[in-house]
């Protein structure tokens, strides 16, 4: 629950759509099932994001022999990675949209 709420906060519009579209069903069981699926996906996305950021920021902020920590660097790196994620997401989605508009895909 914690992870998905973190991710939900900074999530792109897609993720929000997933949670809202999960509520349009008439059958409450189907609704619940959809919500659980959306929830699991949000957790999977958050986990992936945490892993990738840890890997990248560990690499950028810490050096051998790892005798001291570098928290300010980690915090800035985290912010920078999230911003990069958004830039990449915009570039990728507009590329997909252009390709589908021109009939490439």
């Amino acid at each position: 629950m914690g992870l998905s709420s973190i991710f939900g906060g900074g999530a792109p519009s897609q993720q929000k759509e997933a949670t809202t579209s999960a509520k349009t069903t008439s059958n409450p069981i189907a609704n619940e099932l959809k919500n659980q699926i959306a929830q699991e996906l949000a957790v999977a996305n958050a986990t992936e994001l945490v892993n990738k950021i840890s890997e990248n920021c560990f690499e950028k902020c810490l050096t051998s022999p790892y005798s001291s920590r570098n928290d300010p660097c980690i915090d800035q790196c985290l912010a920078k990675y999230m911003r990069s994620w958004n830039v990449i997401s915009k570039a990728y989605i507009s590329r997909i949209q252009n390709a589908s508009a021109s009939g490439e895909i």
Binding site: Q14, E32, A44, Q76, K80, Y92, R95
Partner: protein, 87 residues
């Protein structure tokens, strides 16, 4: 989060089942896009971001990131075409 029992799931009518199948299809393709974005960010952040002294992206870094995705996709398309032609 309350969890669903198997009897709950068995009681689903055909309309709901279809609805869930459509929902899954949509979520699946969205998830594929998400995972690609994770992959591209991982690759391009390594290549485009040198200093992490500042939480903001410079305009240079921003350009590099979006060029990086586009060139990666160009490469991907070219590889697929190349493999298709060599068959």
């Amino acid at each position: 989060m309350s969890s669903l029992s198997t009897s709950d799931l068995a009681s689903l009518d055909d309309t709901s089942k279809k609805e869930i199948a459509t929902f899954l299809e949509g979520e699946n393709s969205k998830q594929k896009v998400q995972m690609s974005i994770h992959q591209f960010t991982n690759i391009c952040f390594k290549k485009c971001v040198d200093s992490v002294n500042n939480p903001d992206l410079s305009s240079q870094e921003e350009h590099c990131l979006s060029n990086c995705v586009n060139r990666f996709l160009d490469t991907n398309i070219r590889i697929v075409n190349g493999l298709q032609n060599s068959r």
